[in-house]
């Protein structure tokens, strides 16, 4: 665990390192930083302000994410923490980092295309198991707001793909 030396203000870099260890609660292998929801870190005196942009307005993980960040910063010795929400500009899957995309793929979730390459009637994905492009969208919505359900017609495996927004 990264900790911040007691009795001194943490630097923004130290705070970023603490945050880098916090993963999305519903994609527990994916650091929040790679999900692209951490907009800004500000350190003023002893006060740390972290600004987040939610993925979906109603995502139940939003409050959970704020709590995880607060806990991680508290454990690292930060005493005054503010978690701010910023909606504008709205989060887009384009903010998922290349590292985050690779992690999604490693966990069997097809990462989103960049929105400029995406057109919504196309099946934007190949099967993560066998690589076939012969896939079918089963449902627009998966177990979390950010994913859709697919199945592969070639190997018959079901899989999830990140929606492009």
């Amino acid at each position: 665990m990264v900790s911040v030396p007691a009795s001194t203000s943490p630097t923004a870099g130290e705070v970023w390192r603490v945050i880098a260890g916090v993963c999305d609660p519903e994609l527990p292998f994916l650091p929040l930083v790679d999900l692209g929801v951490v907009r800004d870190v500000d350190v003023a005196h002893d006060r740390v302000t972290v600004t987040l942009t939610p993925t979906y307005t109603g995502c139940p993980a939003n409050e959970w994410i704020a709590r995880l960040l607060r806990e991680a910063l508290t454990d690292a010795g930060v005493s005054t923490i503010e978690i701010r929400t910023q909606l504008n500009p709205p989060w887009t899957t384009d903010w998922i980092t290349p590292h985050g995309r690779a992690l999604l793929g490693q966990h069997g979730i097809v990462p989103p295309l960049l929105t400029r390459h995406h057109h919504h009637d196309a099946n934007p994905v190949g099967c993560p198991t066998c690589g076939s492009g012969d896939v079918e969208r089963v449902s627009e919505f998966g177990a979390t707001p950010c994913k859709s359900l697919y199945k592969c017609r070639a190997c018959r495996e079901p899989f999830e793909a990140f929606k492009c927004i």
Binding site: L87, E140, K163
Partner: protein, 249 residues
């Protein structure tokens, strides 16, 4: 300050989203397939998120310390400013889909205009909501096509649903007091109708469904005069919070 037109408009947007979210939530555990159970719950969550952002804005404008929960749980039926369409019962799956298609196609046009509007908060809420609403339009349009262009039974039910809910569409596109007061920062509802009708006509044609004919045009939801259905919905939604104020779990 409570006579700020942004306050009433924020409540109007929030009430539309909250009431429809509550209706959709009733499908959880009852939808025809697991995928639709998840789908309808996700639509409800998106709307709930939009409602919360709008209630939070209303609370800030008012500045009297009321919270999102106060607006959702401790206002009575005549204080709700949602359109009548949102409170109509779920009916069968076809009715829920037709209601959602009408509403999300309207909301897509509305959010598109608000996102380009002069009020920064409404613009950012609408820009975020628009990304979600596009999925709602696709989801409900896809289902309308599957049902309409499906079996004889699903076609008949989809047509009945589209016809039954059509009267409530007119209110969406008519200016009420809340819209007139908001003219400096929100689009006139009438101006949204052509975009809505383009989406509607294309979808109904693909679904092999007839355009409903204009007849009865009930209105009043935006002025707090609701159909008999809203009070039952609110009773269920609000009873716990009112019986145990401040309860947490």
């Amino acid at each position: 300050m409570a006579n700020d037109p942004r306050f009433d408009y924020a409540l109007h947007l929030a009430d539309n989203a909250l009431v429809l979210a509550q209706r959709l939530g009733a499908w959880v555990g009852h939808a025809p397939e697991l995928e639709e159970d998840l789908g309808l719950a996700n639509l409800a969550l998106d709307l709930l998120g939009q409602a919360r952002l709008c209630y939070a804005y209303a609370a800030e404008i008012e500045g009297r310390g009321r919270t999102e929960d106060d607006f959702a749980y401790f206002r009575d039926e005549d204080e709700f400013r949602n359109c009548l369409l949102c409170e109509q019962p779920n009916g069968d799956f076809g009715h829920t889909i037709a209601r959602h298609f009408y509403f999300s196609a309207y909301q897509q046009a509305l959010y598109t205009a608000l996102a380009a509007g002069p009020d920064a908060r409404f613009a950012e809420i609408a820009a975020q909501g628009l990304r979600e609403t596009r999925y709602h339009v696709r989801y409900s349009a896809n289902w309308l096509v599957r049902l309409g262009d499906g079996t004889a039974e699903s076609h008949a039910r989809a047509q009945a649903a589209v016809d039954t809910l059509w009267p409530y569409v007119h209110e969406l596109f008519e200016s009420a007091a809340v819209d007139r007061a908001a003219s400096a920062f929100a689009p006139a509802p009438e101006s949204l109708r052509s975009a809505f009708e383009r989406t509607l006509e294309a979808t109904l044609a693909e679904a092999t469904l007839r355009m409903p004919s204009d007849d009865w045009q009930p209105r009043g939801g935006k002025d707090g005069r609701h159909s008999e259905h809203l009070s039952y919905l609110l009773a269920e939604m609000q009873s716990l919070a009112r019986a145990h104020p401040g309860a947490r779990w």
